[in-house]
Assembly symmetry: none
Homo-oligomer: 209 residues x 4
DNA sequence: GATGAATGAGTATTCATTCAT
DNA sequence: GATGAATGAATACTCATTCAT
């Protein structure tokens, strides 16, 4: 049992990496077993189907991300930093992000979307609590907190996911965050230090130093 | 030529409807030709490949939506209404939306996403101009206009696409729109009259009037 | 040994029931061990192969049926009744017959056929002896007894197996039995009381009372 | 169309031969296409599925056999000969019979059974008419004709199909046929000239050379 | 006696694409 | 312009069997 458990986690990890780097649809069971060096029967000994494997992979990813978010939540840092920290923790780890270039866009939308949806659902209550705390402490001032939190998440996801954002995007994001939460102007300027716009094709248009 | 053109548009329309209702991946070339009543060879006479068909379908969709947006742009209505009108025009037409229920979620993400991305790119400059106009007229007050417009689009897409939003979502959306643009409080309250939250499971929690 | 024997019989019984109800081909080893609650290895500890399991199951079935036939043979009833009794005892027990409806037709032909063949071989000598007795007693009058017995068996199998026979089938069967054996007319009319035509779709043609 | 039709018949014939010689279950689609020298796609261009191929093969076999039976029916020979001729025409052609030995027993039961069932259904009315004619002409004397015809078919199928019958079997068969139909004794003795007991393993015990 | 992890050959089916006519 | 026969690589999944522990 020990042995089987370990093996399964191994396989899950391999599947995860392949799904992320090549996309779920473009990863065949044959690919997975070749990478894992196991026989087809072994794969089906551990997984009911390819789809169920995806389900488990997603579950694993979500667990990891929620765990990361929770650890930020419990750390002794100021509330605004906490919020941004949690939001940042949701983003795929940079290493994974760049497996085989920055793909994760075309073929992966499905998995990505699935993860995002389920993740957002789970994170909204977490973040809402933190925001409420902020309101109680007088740092923020707003109503309809869960709805605002949802917007924050949507925005950060969409804007920062593409590795294709600029300093101006960050400025506007900061502005909107402050206003969404009713925070003091520039109270979230620290975000600028955390996120650096990528040196991607998006920059090539001729930004001067 | 004449005849060929017409035929092609017909095929494009059939492909479009099938892609939307069943999803691109789930629509085989065989499905399309069966629906169209033509031979395999004929299909490949008009289209290089299935993927290229998708490209053309998407192009068609975008053209339609840009056209709709432009007509709003040129209509003689107040600037805030114009902006909202343009945003609303981007949403899939209600008829299409409900082809075979509200599917368009699981299988269709790919096409959806592709359309959205290219659409947003094209609409940003359009909307930016309108916002600038508003700033000149003193209705709005903000900088980094294209970035703000992008956020507006992202938010409206994500929030309203799911047919799963509430009155509170609308309230927050209005608030955020006003603040994004630096508009007077409640100057965009008219949105409430335009968009009604759907009567979907999302409502079942027991909302009172 | 004691314990192992019991276990094996248990498994055999489970396999038997599954083969009968789902068909040999449609019953996987996995199905059997799941039903039995044992491990793969255990199954192969008791059986060489799935096919050999079938052989043993069939052997078991035949033993049971021969046993039933023999008990009829030894009972103190008139010879014609004995013959019919033996023939009737060969038919699958009604309970099994109706496991999950009247299946035992499409998927099960293989096992059925195998059983029938081997059963017929074993039953022919048994019945032949009874018929000979009848000849000696002057009840019957015929030659080539084993061949006649075989025909009797073939006929009863084919006609009555299908749960799809009528009063007329029975009439003709009685007639032919009498003539096959050289028995007096109507001397086997008692069969009518033993076998009732089924109330199946076969009857729907509109038989009047 | 001409071309496609021909090709399909060719494939059907190949499939037919393989199903007969190896059994349906033991014939893979790969086997068929290898034998036919076509690509997999071509196979599925002509057939929806393997199962549907079987259906068509069976339909073809039945058509052929019905055709043969009908030609006997229309030939100007005495009624008893007609009956036996029709029954004989139902048996698989000798050439096919011996494809790869006399196998056709274990793996083929399914197809065999399917054909037999549907064939018997179609042949019963044909034969019944002939028997009625015989009754009208005073050659036969019996009631419940369709039921008697069914028994005749069942018997001849079972007895002669196995390539494993003796002179005695033929004698009894003749006897029973005469009595089933109420024909004069020995009026069907001509059967002996038509059917010869096979030189099969059943006989092999005492064959010299 | 019993386990369960590992195997791998085998199977039917799909589908975008080509091309001679 | 239009046809439809032909292709073949790709794919997910099954299952009887083995064997070290």
């Amino acid at each position: 049992m020990r042995k089987g458990e370990r093996r399964k986690l191994e396989l899950l990890d391999i599947a995860y990496k392949m799904f992320v780097s090549k996309g779920y649809e473009n990863t065949s069971v044959d690919d997975i077993i070749a990478e894992a060096g196991i026989a087809k029967g072994t794969y089906y000994y551990y997984f009911e189907s390819k789809e169920q494997t995806l389900e488990e992979v997603i579950g694993m990813m979500i667990d990891k991300e929620i765990e990361a978010a929770t650890s930020v939540l419990e750390s002794p840092i100021p509330i605004p930093q906490k919020i941004i920290g949690i939001i940042a923790s949701l983003r795929p780890a940079p290493e994974e992000h760049s497996i085989e270039g920055a793909l994760m866009q075309p073929e992966n939308i499905i998995m990505h979307q699935k993860v995002k949806q389920r993740l957002v659902e789970k994170v909204i209550p977490l973040l809402s609590k933190v925001v409420e705390e902020g309101v109680e402490q007088g740092i923020f001032s707003c109503d309809n907190i869960p709805e605002r939190v949802k917007m924050m998440l949507v925005l950060s996801n969409e804007i920062f996911d593409e590795d294709n954002f600029t300093d101006k995007d960050i400025d506007v994001f900061i502005d909107i965050m402050e206003k969404l939460l009713g925070a003091a102007a520039n109270s979230m300027g620290f975000i600028r230090q955390l996120i650096n716009p990528p040196k991607t094709p998006a920059d090539k248009k001729g930004k001067k130093k």
